[in-house]
Each structure stands twice: as C-alpha cells, then as structure tokens.
C-alpha cells in the first residue's frame, strides 16, 4: 500500500515560562492510503498534539511530516491552510459548528476558501447532508439539532472539499453510545469508499473499527 502520511522523529516542545514541556518525544508513525487508523492514548499522553501534527494544524519543533511524499513540516501557516483545506477533513469532539449558520451554510464554508463555484458548492453541500441522513435538517441551525445530528453535519462539512484524509478527534466523545456507533459506521463507510480515516481517542472500544492502532503514552509511541 501507498504511504499517505509519515511522521519521522517528530518532537514538539512547549515553553510555559521557564518550564520546558516535551509533549511529543520523537514520534515516528506511518499511515497508509485507505487505512482506518486509531491513535489511542489516555488524556495527557500527547495524542491531541499528535493529531495536530498529522492534520497539519501545527508544525513540529523538530522532525519531518511527509504528506503524500511532500515535507509539510516547514510550511508557512497559509500554505498549511491550503493543505488542510484541500486534503484534510476535520471532525471534532465539540462538533465546532458555526452557531449562527445553518447546517447547509456550515457545510458550504470550507468550499468558499477553495473558490468552488456557487452552484457546485450548494449542490455538493446538499448531497453531503443527504448522505449523512440530514435532508430534513438542511436549514436548521446547530442549536436546533441533537448532538448526533450536529456531529453528522460536522462529518458532512469535513467532506465538503472531497479530502482524502478524514481526521476525527474523539468523534464519539460528546454523544451517547448508540449515536457514537452511528458516527463510527459513517466513518467506516467513508473508509470503505477509499478515504483514509484517522481517529484519535481514549476509548479502547473503538479499536474494532480500525485496521491500524497506534498507542501513545507520555509523548512516545507505545509499542508493547
């Protein structure tokens, strides 16, 4: 299989005043195309920081991140924004929808930054909402939706620019277990369609969806 993301000896160090905080200590990791990868770790393990690296939200203090054969670890913030916009779809634990916009508008937002033509944007956003079963909720605002519905809007949004990679941060963390199952099924379907899915969680139950599990502890990959 072809490698899509590769982390080579990635370090991330934060400075809190005088205190040096090493959150990632030489993480090396590979994700292949069409993987369903699970990054598993307790809170404080550095898994969120690792997710930020994998999803190009942040750059490492040292080490390399290779995305589709290209080193992205030294890119400027704007260049990273382009990479994120085109190649990566985000699903957050807190849903992170824009509260004053409707479900449809939320799904359209990422396509605006890519300059997608207006008709195509709307058609695509509607199709995506239909595909996650929200055809009746298109013009509702997040406040009028249940937690599961919000997360489905978020999934639809993550697909707006047809990215190859879906990155989900505790996607089931804020919904009940039944809804969590639905969310994971949707992600699994997306994986079957050929997308690479990377899920960060502390929930060991989710391992059954993944074909690759990376455990992280104290900023290092736990190989045991």
């Amino acid at each position: 299989m072809e490698r899509i993301i590769e982390l080579q000896n990635v370090w991330k160090t934060y400075f809190l005043g005088e205190i040096k905080l090493e959150v990632l200590k030489g993480v090396t990791l590979e994700v292949e195309k069409q993987d369903f990868a699970l990054i598993l770790g307790p809170s404080g393990s550095g898994k969120s920081t690792l997710l930020n690296m994998v999803s190009c939200l942040d750059v490492p203090t040292s080490g390399k991140i290779i995305l589709e054969g290209k080193d992205v670890s030294k890119l400027s913030e704007d260049d990273l924004a382009v990479v994120r916009g085109k190649k990566i779809g985000f699903v957050f634990q807190q849903f992170n929808l824009l509260t004053h916009l409707t479900a449809l508008e939320n799904v359209i937002i990422p396509t605006i930054f890519q300059g997608t033509p207006k008709e195509e944007r709307e058609r695509r956003a509607k199709d995506l909402l239909v595909s996650v079963g929200l055809e009746k909720r298109v013009n509702h605002r997040p406040a009028e939706l249940s937690g599961g519905e919000r997360q489905r809007v978020a999934i639809a949004r993550s697909l707006a620019n047809n990215p190859e990679i879906i990155v989900a941060d505790e996607p089931t963390g804020n919904v009940d277990s039944k809804t969590g199952q639905v969310i994971m099924d949707i992600l699994k379907d997306l994986n079957k369609e050929g997308r690479t899915v990377i899920v960060v969680t502390h929930d060991t139950d989710l391992q059954r969806f993944a074909n690759k599990v990376v455990k992280i502890k104290d900023g290092e990959i736990d190989d045991r």
């Binding site: 930020n52 999803s55 939200l57 942040d58 913030e77 704007d78 924004a81 382009v82 994120r84 916009g85 085109k86 985000f90 957050f92 992170n96 929808l97 824009l98 509260t99 004053h100 916009l101 508008e105 937002i109 990422p110 605006i112 930054f113 890519q114 300059g115 949004r157 707006a160 620019n161």
Partner: protein, 404 residues
C-alpha cells in the same frame, strides 16, 4: 469570491445585531454632523459669496466706524453724512459715489397696506453703476426714470408683500403716490428683494431725512489702482474730519470689494474648518467604537476563527471577513448619517426660509458631499477594523481551537 466574504461578514453582524446597531449609531452621528454642518456652511458661503460677486471689482465700500465694531455701527444707526460723501467724492480716482439710505415704511397698494423696506438710490447717477457693475436688472417692466415719481421693486414684493402687483400699478408711500416702473431680479438676499427703491431725492423728501447713509460705495475711475483710491478716500475723510474739528473724530472703514470678498472668504474658511474639526472628532469617536466592537468580537470568536482556519481559511480570508464587518458598520452608519444629515439640512433650510431671515440659505448638498460621506465612513470603518482583523488573522489555529 469577495462577495462570499461580504455575505459571511453580514451574517456575523446580524447574529450580534444590537451591538452592531449601537456601533453603527456611533458612525451615524459623526457622518450626520459632517453632512448637515458642511452642507449648511457651504450653503451659507455660497449665498454670501453670490451676493458679494454681484459687486464688481472696481467698487469701494465705505462704512462708518472701524471694522472691529462693524456690527455695533450698523445696529446703532451710525451713518455717513453729506460732508463725508463730499469728501469721498473729492478723492482722486472716484468716479461716482452711490448712497443707499434705507428705512421701513408703510406702503399701500390698492386696499392693501403693508410695512416694508424702502431705500433711496440716485436713479440718474447711481442706477447705471448698479446695472453695469453690480448686475442689477429689471426683469419685468422698465427701469425707473428720475423726476417721474417712479419706483422699482424687489422680486419678492409682487409675491410676498403685494400679491398681483404689476408694473404700472401705483403704490402710496407715506402719503405720496408713485408708479411701479419695474421689478428687479433677485439681489441675493431676502431683505433687498422685499424692498422698494425710490429715487434718492424722492426718498429724502418723503422721509424728511436730508442726509445720511449707512453705507456708501464709490466707483473707481478707469485706470486707477483700487488700493491707491482707498488711500485717497481715507485721507480725504480724515482731512474733512480735522477741518470740522469734531470732538470725537469718527473713524471709517474703506475697503475694496475684493477685500470684502477676501474677508468673508476667510471667515467662512475658519467656520468650515471648525465644522470639519468638530465633525471629525465625532467620526473618530465612532471609529474607536468600531475598533472596540471588533476587538471584542475577535476575542469572543477566537474559537470560530480557529474553526475557519482548520477548514482551510488563510490569513487574508480572515482579514477580509473582519474588514468587511467593520466596513459594513462604517458604510451603513454612513448611509444613515447622510440620510439624517441631508434631512436636517433641508429642514433647516425650510425653517430659515419660513422665518424670513435676512439672506437666503440653501443647503448646499452636492453629490460629492454625499459620496465623500459614504466613502469616508467606509474608510473609517475599514481603518478601525484593520488592527482587530490583523489580530484575528494572527491567531494560531491550534490555540484558537482550544479557546473556550
């Protein structure tokens, strides 16, 4: 694509409508002041300058008293007497001296009796000067002839004083009958346009005042330098005062029409500068309001900015959204300010016209003033929004997303 950021900005503003409107109000007040004050002061300037421009370049104005206490002199009824007029006439370079004494009088036209202004002007000597150098013109009827008990009337007399008055009608002024020869074109101020002009001799005889005029004008002979003639007149007036051994030597103000125009222009310039300064302060305060709102907004929407960045927004996209928000606040404020400002200017114009003020005041509302108001408000909005927008764009996506 710019349109999309505009729409996003508009939605953001709507989602915080009370605060947006309050901020807009700050700009409305500033632009309202600029538009109303500028249009009224420009109108005032136009009307005063228009009146002055009727006076040709080779006229000299002589007033009793110093320039410093002009108002006191005029209100107090200090006048130039015949000896002063003679002194002016003697000055080298003076061709004709025009006197124009005026007073209020009861005038009857058929059954109608009204009080209005009458003034005396020498039809023989002075009227041609007024016609050629000051643009006086009869628009209905004929020029009055001296010695025929004829009068000419201001253009408002047939409208506001005696309706249906026509040339050829007779009017009775202080018991004497006169024939209306013609109606003058507007002289640029309400008082003059409501007045009736008599030949100087007739004026003197019906008022019983043998001499005196609150103001005199001297026409300069061809080939003389106006400033030299001003000096000559001043010297003659002074000599005459010395000869009379007046106990308190009267002072005079002698100015060329150009000096008068310059003086008025200066006063108007200062007035307008003051207006602009005060209105600018109001707009700056409005701009600070926008900045405050936008900074608060950036702080509150940190997470939202993080989300936008996560889904692919570049710095310039974030900047555009925030700049549009600030610009829209500015522009909407500008539109409101222009509407209110124009409204007030028109209302003021109507109130002043109705109150019968001495001069005409037309609010001078040019398309440029309106465009200036709108552009200015938009620019102030964008400038005020620039720093907050920069701050928003600078946020790191990871930090912004973590913000609660």
């Amino acid at each position: 694509m710019t349109g999309e950021y505009f729409k996003i900005a508009l939605k953001n503003l709507k989602s915080r409508s009370l605060r947006s409107w309050l901020t807009i109000l700050g700009i409305v007040i500033g632009i309202f002041l600029v538009i109303s004050l500028l249009s009224l002061s420009e109108g005032l300037k136009q009307s005063v300058m228009g009146e002055l421009q009727m006076m040709g370049g080779d006229m000299i104005v002589i007033l009793p008293g110093d320039t410093g206490d002009m108002i006191t002199t005029m209100m107090g009824g200090v006048e130039l007497d015949d000896r002063d007029i003679e002194a002016i006439r003697r000055a080298d370079g003076v061709e004709v001296v025009v006197e124009m004494p005026f007073s209020a009088a009861i005038v009857r036209h058929f059954q109608d009796t009204e009080t209005t202004f009458i003034y005396g002007v020498d039809f023989n000597e002075a009227l041609p000067i007024l016609r050629h150098d000051m643009g006086w013109e009869i628009v209905d009827g004929d020029y009055p002839r001296p010695g025929r008990r004829e009068v000419m009337v201001g253009n408002l007399v047939p409208k506001d004083v005696f309706e249906d008055l026509l040339p050829g009608d007779s009017v009775v002024i202080k018991g004497k009958e006169f024939t209306v020869a013609g109606v003058l074109r507007s002289l640029g101020n309400r008082e003059d346009d409501l007045s009736i002009a008599l030949d100087l001799q007739d004026y003197r005889s019906i008022t019983g005042k043998r001499e005196g005029t609150p103001v005199a004008m001297a026409k300069i002979e061809d080939g003389h330098d106006p400033e030299t003639v001003v000096g000559n007149i001043e010297r003659e007036l002074e000599d005459s005062a010395i000869r009379r051994r007046d106990e308190e030597r009267p002072s005079f103000t002698v100015m060329t029409s150009e000096t008068v125009t310059d003086m008025v222009e200066n006063i108007m310039g200062v007035l307008q500068a003051a207006v602009i300064a005060f209105a600018s302060i109001a707009i700056i305060v409005g701009g600070i309001g926008i900045m405050n709102t936008m900074y608060t907004s950036v702080k509150e929407r940190t997470k939202e900015i993080g989300i936008l960045k996560a889904v692919g927004a570049k710095k310039k996209h974030i900047v555009s959204i925030f700049l549009f928000e600030a610009g829209i606040i500015g522009l909407v404020g500008g539109v409101g300010g222009v509407v209110l400002g124009v409204g007030l200017a028109i209302a003021a114009e109507m109130v002043l016209a109705g109150s019968g003020m001495m001069f005409y005041l037309e609010a001078y509302i040019s398309i440029w003033l309106i465009l200036f108001g709108l552009t200015f408000s938009f620019v102030v909005g964008c400038l005020s929004g620039y720093l907050p927008a920069k701050q928003a764009a600078k946020l790191e996506p990871v930090d912004a997303l973590r913000y609660e």
